[in-house]
């Protein structure tokens, strides 16, 4: 590799590595700080929340909280910047919102699902976007439920299978299109390859498709704008980028797909400071940094005169292999561009810095 190539492409620099004594399922930056949270499951079957602070080249453990059930996922998306409450979903189907200053009793708690909550997302908090703060959870029992922290016990929206139909596991959920107080959509990915887009304003199914492989992770490039792009990653090393600006009545949304690795792509995360750059993490312990390039024209008319979207192209900026085990969780810091944390199944937490993102 010549020096010139090294100098131009963004580099993924491993800043800190922290060995953990439990399986880490999710890691999140605490907004407006250099602190991060790890959520996981200890060997004795209890849930662990650990709060670390980044000091120079090391992470210092500030606090460790143990809960009776293992914790699968968490989000800060629905809290205010001052409160910074953490919403978690655990293996038992409980949704809890914790005040980390006083974590003994949750601020909000509900047994939302009958089985493990696989994925959680929050919208309306952190000073981003408008509208009520809401949390959506997707579970193995096939349902996707939207919760409002001001309303106890019942969800404000429930997407469940028709009576008598067999259910499929919901593996991932994401909020999007929350650009004003009324509009909001929830996108859910299932293990049989279904992706469904629910519109919460009209309480209906807006779009559904099947990408032929179980969907591991979906994310909109921004939650608080008119929906622009949706990335869905799946098993077998494939992911699809859908252009969400133009919906065709029969063909749905235009997409471009890429087969990046031989193994499952576990997560996709967009860079908070640039919505066209995202990172995918794979089952082979590798991270790929991608850039989406828009086509010359984002929509065109088809033979019947209805508008059809045009998908752009993808460019691989960098890839790096950090571990032999899958990297199951990934989070960009919303405050420092290029700083990210990832947790892998080899019980290691890594803080990475991606350089030269300004020049892209």
């Amino acid at each position: 590799m010549s020096a010139a190539v090294v100098a131009e492409r963004p580099q993924v620099v491993s800043h800190v590595q922290q060995a953990l004594s439990y399986t880490v399922f999710d890691c999140k930056w605490v907004p407006r700080s250099a602190r991060l949270l790890c959520l996981g499951s200890a060997a004795r079957g209890t849930g662990i929340i650990q709060l670390y602070e980044l000091y120079g080249a090391r992470l210092e453990l500030l606090r460790e909280i143990e809960k009776p059930k293992p914790i699968k996922c968490g989000t800060f998306g629905a809290t205010s910047l001052q409160q910074r409450y953490l919403a978690t979903g655990d293996f038992d189907g409980n949704l809890n919102i914790w005040n980390l200053e006083a974590p003994e009793i949750p601020v909000y708690s509900v047994k939302g699902h009958k089985e493990i909550i696989n994925s959680i997302d929050g919208v309306g908090g952190l000073g981003i976007g408008e509208g009520a703060p809401e949390i959506v959870t997707g579970s193995r029992d096939g349902t996707v439920k939207v919760w409002d922290p001001r309303q106890n016990d019942t969800p404000v929206a429930n997407m469940e299978p028709i009576q008598g139909e067999s259910k499929r596991d919901c593996w991932t959920v994401a909020f999007g299109n929350a650009y004003n107080q009324e509009e909001r959509v929830v996108c859910a990915g299932y293990d049989n390859g279904d992706i469904k887009l629910f519109d919460l304003k009209t309480m209906s199914l807006r779009w559904a498709t099947n990408i032929k492989n179980g969907v591991c992770s979906v994310e909109f490039d921004r939650k608080d704008i008119n929906m622009n792009k949706l990335v869905a990653t799946s098993l077998e090393g494939k992911f699809h980028v859908f252009d969400m600006r133009t919906q065709h009545p029969t063909k749905g949304f235009a997409f471009v797909s890429e087969k990046a690795q031989k193994s499952t792509i576990w997560q996709v995360r967009h860079l908070p400071q640039n919505r066209d750059i995202f990172m995918t993490s794979g089952g082979s312990g590798s991270l790929h940094l991608w850039k989406y390039e828009y086509p010359a024209q984002r929509s065109k008319k088809d033979s019947e005169g209805s508008e059809m979207g045009v998908a752009g192209s993808l460019c691989l900026l960098q890839n790096v292999t950090l571990s032999t085990q899958p990297i199951s969780s990934l989070d960009w810091s919303p405050d420092k561009k290029g700083l990210c944390v990832c947790g892998a199944f080899d019980q290691t937490l890594r803080v990475l810095i991606v350089t030269k993102l300004n020049k892209i």
Binding site: A3, H15, A34, S80, G131, M159, D169, N213, G214
Partner: protein, 424 residues
């Protein structure tokens, strides 16, 4: 008998002997010269020259120059001394022999040592080359590592800076806010004193809460904005349910493209098995246990065929086929029945099906295939499709060339064909 070369001339110094040997027209190459410490031989068949030297010489440094029809030897003595003569006198045959042999042995050893030495030097050269390349690669790697390290340090510094900024920023913000609040409170207090007589409860209430909150910690200064925002937040959504339909999938595992083919096959086989069981269940309840066994039915059919009850045999075979349609013998035997019954088309169908099932053409199913071909051939001929019939007979002959009956029949058919061709 070799021709001895004796016309040599020599002279010596203290350290060296110079020997000149004329070659009578013969051409010499280095291979013809053999020299050891005390023995010198030049052999150019049929010429031969040998000499047992007076004293040992240093044969590695000595040299021989070939040219101008003679060989010029420069032999360096081991011990500087003047020799009385070139060769040893009174050298009897045995001594000569002994010396020769020793010389040869010595030469061999020397040759061995030389090859050894060469090998060792070669290895050392290789090692050296390897080490050199490794060093180069190391240097390259180190260079890249250094670049990366520099990047890392730069980035770490930036991170520290950012962190400090964050901390300072927070402090400043809180100090600023505090200042602002104090400023706000001053006019409020004035307003309050003015309106003390008016019952403007909302204002008072509001200002009271504001005062209260400022007594709290610095962080709560933003409760102002929080309260305002909360008033602007919409009420919780009206609860509703959306019913969802999933793309149907039989297996409880996740969908993977690479497994789809396997899954399809499995489902197909399951469906087949179920179909057979289902189709049998309805009609075969009144049959005895043995009658559900295709082999037993086949035997029954064979017996009936032998007795001449061709229709009964066909029935038995039909039932057997319904239970298991993958046994070629059933079709084969049914074809024979149909032939006897003169259901020629059915016979052809059955023999074709049998042949299909006998697809790996191995020696084991030779006889079965021969029978199938013969039966089909017979059926064709009886339908007067002689060319097709001949094809089948020839196929049968190919499998089993020694069968006389088939040959005879094939001949007959050929004649028939030629006959019809001539007549038409």
């Amino acid at each position: 008998m070799p021709v001895w070369l004796r016309e040599h001339s020599w002279r010596q110094t203290l350290t060296a002997v110079y020997l000149s040997l004329p070659l009578r027209g013969a051409r010499a190459t280095p291979a013809n010269i053999f020299c050891s410490e005390q023995y010198l031989k030049v052999s150019i068949p049929p010429f031969l020259f040998e000499a047992i030297l007076y004293a040992p010489i240093d044969d590695t440094n000595s040299s021989a120059k070939i040219g101008n029809g003679n060989i010029f030897f420069t032999l360096y003595k081991k011990e500087p001394a003047m020799w009385d003569s070139l060769t040893l006198a009174n050298a009897d045959k045995e001594k000569l022999q002994y010396l020769r042999e020793r010389a040869v042995l010595k030469a061999h050893e020397k040759a061995k040592e030389e090859t050894e030495a060469k090998k060792i030097t070669k290895q050392e050269h290789k090692k050296y080359a390897l080490e050199a390349t490794m060093k180069l690669e190391e240097a390259e790697r180190k260079r890249i590592e250094d670049l990366k390290e520099k990047e890392r340090q730069k980035v770490a510094k930036e991170l520290e800076l950012w962190k400090n900024q964050q901390k300072n920023g927070d402090k400043y913000k809180s100090i600023q806010k505090k200042g602002e609040i104090h400023q706000e409170i001053e006019p409020l207090k004035e307003k309050k004193s003015e309106k003390i007589n008016k019952t403007q409860i909302p204002n008072e209430g509001a200002s009271k809460t504001r005062l209260k909150s400022t007594k709290g910690c610095l962080g709560s200064c933003s409760i102002f904005s929080q309260n305002l925002k909360e008033e602007q937040l919409p009420a919780p959504r009206a609860a509703a349910t959306i019913k969802v339909n999933f793309t149907p999938r039989v297996f409880p595992t996740a969908l993977r493209e690479s497994r789809v083919a396997e899954e399809e096959e499995w489902l197909h086989k399951q469906a087949e098995a179920r179909r057979i069981i289902n189709s049998d269940l309805s009609e075969l309840e009144d049959l005895k246990e043995e009658e559900k066994n295709p082999d037993w039915l086949k035997d029954k059919g064979n017996k009936m065929f032998a007795m001449g009850d061709y229709l009964g045999a066909v029935n038995a075979y039909n039932l057997a086929v319904r239970l298991n349609n993958k046994l070629p013998l059933l079709y084969l035997n049914r074809a024979a029945c149909h032939l006897k019954l003169r259901n020629l088309h059915k016979a052809i169908e059955d023999s074709s099906k049998a042949l299909e099932l006998l697809t790996p053409p191995v020696p084991d199913n030779e006889s079965a295939r021969v029978k199938a071909h013969v039966r089909r051939g017979t059926a064709f001929c009886q339908l007067e499709l002689y060319t097709e019939g001949l094809q089948d007979y020839e196929a049968a002959l190919k499998i089993d060339p020694r069968n006389k009956n088939i040959e005879k029949d094939a001949e007959k058919i050929r004649h028939l064909i030629q006959g019809t061709m001539q007549s038409s």
